[in-house]
């Protein structure tokens, strides 16, 4: 599983980081989401998917 953040769409809500702190970090510069694991290891995939689903802007995709 790979997750990607569309930074043109990300608004920095930070919900992905709350759902999956081991998958998403937030940029101290602008609060935008940064994916820190690629690919996402199996034990983090549930959390990563929740991060994808709970993005208010639908900026995150999973493959």
């Amino acid at each position: 599983m790979q997750v990607k953040v569309d930074l043109d769409v990300c608004q920095g809500h930070g919900v992905c980081h709350m759902s999956a702190p081991d998958v998403f970090e937030l940029s101290p510069e602008d609060g935008h989401s940064i994916v820190i694991v690629d690919p996402v290891p199996p034990d983090l995939q549930d959390a990563a998917q929740l991060g994808v689903d709970s993005c208010p802007e639908r900026a995150i995709s999973a493959e």
Binding site: H13, V15, M18, L50, S54, P56
Partner: protein, 411 residues
């Protein structure tokens, strides 16, 4: 196993998606009152209202829906639950058996006596509702918003930005007071006054009078709602309106569950696993669920978008036997007055409020709220990045003193 999900909106649909991702191959039936899957609602009170090209986004495209292999019973309402025989009735007279039931019927806009929806009186729930409000705003209608919660404040803000005369009627003394507490709600209320919204606080609506003439000389845009009406307030004043938007909160859709043995005092009472109290095999998710959140003394019910998604994930995990507690930090956001208002946690009515960035009247602010040494909420306006370190403390259960220390403020 037969799983029945009642409610084809955010919580119900996301529950089914999560079940399938967990590899659950149960037979799933989805019962929904509307003819299709609901749309994504947050934009409807936000960007949608000022963007003539915006379309309501479905929660799920047809291809993704087909992949879920769900039996859909759409355009039908669930009418009752018989827990002893484990069946749900629908308004076609059918009875549908389940081994596990997910109640995700959500909530409906609270209707006010005398202000039932009709031409010129509108609630905001569906894409069609939002489109009608958008039409009126773009025609510079005179808008009266009844209810000063988040949605009312968003509509008012957008209406002002689009050049409409906007009046908000709110029986409480400030806008968004339930979500923000007294001090922060005052601060946001002042901003709405500065934006030119006519606020009538501490009064209610006595009734609606039709046929009020439009004031002479006022230029009308073509397409504006016609046939003016006057909203009569409990203090005797009258406000002319082309469009009345009733934004008086929402009530959980539990009427169909009466007599089922569930505790329905404000939504469906659940334990921390979102399993309905007293009736085995039944879960609730979304606006309709009231549950024991480990952060709070009393059971809570939330109408937040993110909460519905998190609850869907928890219910699906628990149907698959994982035993997960729903303990996510509450989050709500609202776009208004050219900024984004964000609330993490829950502001308690008696909380002290400390501004750690800006103040009540600055362009952007971050405030932390708490009491008895406890950090309860982080509230930001136009400060997405600046609130992050405080939110981190809140997530980690840090005391109020730690957050004040971070700000360099003395407690």
């Amino acid at each position: 196993m037969r799983i029945v999900v009642v409610g084809a909106s955010l919580a119900g649909v996301r529950t089914i998606q999560a079940l399938r991702r967990h590899g659950c191959d149960a037979q799933v039936t989805l019962i929904g009152r509307e003819p299709g899957i609901a749309c994504d609602r947050p934009p409807l009170s936000k960007g949608f209202l000022s963007d003539p090209d915006a379309a309501a986004r479905p929660l799920l495209g047809p291809e993704d829906l087909a992949k879920l292999e769900v039996t859909m019973i759409l355009g039908r309402s669930a009418t009752d639950l018989a827990p002893a025989e484990q069946t749900v009735g629908t308004d076609s007279g059918e009875r549908i058996g389940y081994d596990t039931l997910v109640i995700a019927t959500g909530s409906s806009p609270r209707l006010l006596p005398g202000l039932e929806p009709r031409p010129g009186v509108q609630v905001l729930r569906t894409g069609a509702d939002a489109a009608r409000i958008r039409d009126a705003l773009s025609a510079r209608a005179r808008v009266v918003v009844v209810g000063g919660g988040f949605i009312g404040a968003e509509i008012a803000s957008t209406g002002r930005r689009m050049g409409c005369a906007v009046t908000v009627i709110e029986p409480l003394p400030a806008l968004m007071i339930r979500g923000l507490g007294p001090a922060l709600s005052q601060a946001m209320t002042r901003r709405h006054v500065l934006a030119g919204t006519d606020l009538r606080l501490g009064v209610g609506v006595a009734g609606l009078e039709s046929g009020a003439p439009h004031p002479a000389g006022a230029a009308r845009e073509p397409g504006a709602a016609s046939g003016g009406q006057a909203v009569r307030l409990t203090d005797g004043a009258a406000v002319l309106a082309d469009l009345v938007v009733v934004a008086a909160g929402a009530v959980p859709e539990t009427g169909w569950l009466r007599g089922s043995g569930l505790d329905l005092s404000d939504g469906v009472l659940c334990d921390g696993l979102l399993s309905a109290a007293g009736v085995p095999g039944v879960y609730a998710a979304g606006d309709v669920a009231r549950w024991r959140h480990p952060r709070y003394a009393d059971p809570v019910r939330m109408e937040h978008w993110t909460s519905a998604i998190e609850q869907a994930a928890v219910v699906a995990a628990n149907i698959c036997g994982q035993g997960r507690t729903h303990d996510a930090l509450p989050y709500v956001w609202s776009d208004q007055l050219g900024g984004r208002l964000q609330i993490f946690g829950r502001v308690q009515p008696n909380d002290d409020v400390h501004y750690v960035l800006g103040d009540a009247s600055s362009d952007a602010f971050v405030a932390i709220t708490g009491g008895d040494g406890r950090l309860n909420a982080v509230v930001g306006f136009g400060a997405v990045r600046e609130l992050l370190p405080y939110r981190k403390l809140l997530l980690g259960g840090a005391p109020l003193s730690a957050a004040l220390g971070l700000a360099g403020t003395s407690a």
